[in-house]
Symmetry: C2
Subunit: 318 residues, 2 copies
């Protein structure tokens, strides 16, 4: 028997930084958490170093997932964190703070899929698409049994597959992306516009009732539960558009697994994955008989577990 | 100096079977060719064996590219050849005829891209999409520096990426696929319908003049050259739709190379690749600065050279 090798996984989110001490079998042994500083990368690194220092044991390696484009250990862009410039050598700068422990860096969507792949719903998949339904629509890929990040770390953007040329305006400035229909930001803005124009909906009343400034996944789920017609229409339309994009991805990549995750998936469970499968079905040319659609299993832990797995790979020469 | 190891590459097309004896540096040393039999797989295998026997030297390995879905040495479906059933053990049956020489089998679109990758326009690419504009729109992928064929050999179908949900009817029975706008079969049928409805076009007169029963790539190229308005509109629309699909593929896969090939690419050259680049540009979220669009270089030889490369890999334990 070999002793367990604890590795730290760091999940940098727009709101919080979560750190987990993760064991050989991907179990989370200890946790630490703090709000994400909004004054740039140095403060974020200080917080990461402090959280890692708070863990029960000193990790033998550290993996970090960050909501940006990552290539060769550097962060190229971080659209959703404040105060980050265009490119930043995160591995170098964090390595100094952590005394030279082996470090790896990945994009949060890819790292989350890695978590689901090593220890969650995507386990055993060889060609996997991860589809994360949040404020936007993110994604990640495992291809030929290996994480796939593309030429400069920007692969996996299933949310910006175009399903309707000339369709709805997306937050990226283009038209017809699946995110324009299925990202929570765009869905809330469509709901608000239709509400202003006189359509009935309980979405905003439910948000108020739950003390949320805007409809969260929980608010959408409750509105669906209460039979809110507008919320139902918008979610139906989101699932339909996701089906088209996933169908196209299956035609291009002949996948064996599609994992659906993110806030709405946590609320709706396997039912949402089944609905995506049903919506994608008509668009698929020759899907593998092994193709399965599954809901994520690790929820928030996917990021920490995936990041730790990325860190662990540095110990294997990976 | 080592002696050259000649390998046969077999390109099974809807009209002809072409066989090449290919040297270490991917040069075609000898050729043989015959019409593709239309009475099923056994006749096709007899023709392949006879053509391979006609070559100047006995090959040390044989690779075969075939217009069907291929997985684990078997042909699963061959939609465009007559008399083929649902699944056929081509490697086994051809191996018997060729006396046990090492054999490999691939899909024609993937094999064509392999040719362009080992010895043509895609050389040096690590993440490559091949886009073949013919009767339909085919495709192939190289990902992370390796040919990628997916879970059951069906990957690469860029022609059945949906660009316009609810759009034009495609030959696959779905709506809005890029092939519905950019496949020659569908373009000719759109041109015929508009011609019947009174639109002027020289397309069909040119086809008659060249003795073709329908507009070939050469006929389309000549119509463009002569400023035919309808042909120009249809090609413009095809390029625009291709741009959307390629943009989506770049967002999903963060490619470094897109190779445009097939009949129309041979006629129009790099100009067509440049037009595809221009059409894809607005749809790309974060393209790699290294991304390049190139026209195929090997023309018809891509299939033979790629198939030989597939065969050669069997000698390397690949």
């Amino acid at each position: 028997m070999s002793a367990s090798v604890p590795v730290a996984g760091v999940d940098v989110g727009g709101t919080n930084i979560e750190v987990g001490l993760v064991g050989d079998d991907h179990e989370v042994l200890d946790r630490a958490k703090a709000p994400t500083p909004t004054d740039g990368p140095e403060a974020v690194l200080d917080t990461i170093a402090s959280l890692v220092g708070d863990l029960d044991e000193e990790p033998l390696a550290v993996g970090v997932g960050i909501p940006g484009v990552v290539h060769d250990g550097a962060v190229l862009t971080v659209p959703n964190l404040e105060g980050w410039g265009d490119s930043f050598d995160l591995v170098g700068a964090l390595g100094e703070r952590l005394g030279g422990v082996p470090l790896a860096l990945g994009n949060d969507a890819n790292v989350g899929l890695l978590g689901e792949w090593v220890a969650g719903a995507a386990a055993g998949g060889r060609n996997v698409l991860g589809l994360w339904l949040g404020t936007g629509v993110g994604g990640g890929l495992i291809l030929d049994g290996r994480p796939y990040t593309g030429s400069r770390g920007a692969a996996g953007e299933i949310g910006h597959v175009v399903v309707l040329e000339g369709g709805a305006l997306c937050s990226c400035g283009r038209r017809g992306c699946v995110e324009a229909y299925a990202g929570r930001r765009m869905m809330a803005s469509a709901a608000a516009a239709m509400h202003d124009a006189g359509r009935d909906t309980e979405l905003f009343a439910i948000a108020d009732d739950e003390g949320k400034p805007r409809p969260t996944s929980g608010v959408w789920a409750r509105a669906l539960d209460e039979g809110d017609a507008l919320a139902t229409e918008l979610v139906d339309s989101a699932v339909d558009r996701i089906g088209v994009a996933v169908g196209s991805a299956v035609n291009l990549l002949d996948l064996d697994t599609v994992v659906v995750g993110g806030g709405l998936a946590e609320k709706l469970g396997q039912d949402l994955a089944d609905r995506v499968a049903e919506a994608a079905g008509p668009w698929m040319l020759r899907p593998s008989p092994d193709l399965r659609f599954v809901v994520s299993e690790l929820a928030d832990d996917a990021g920490v577990v995936g990041a730790a797995s990325l860190g662990r790979a540095t110990l294997l020469g990976g």
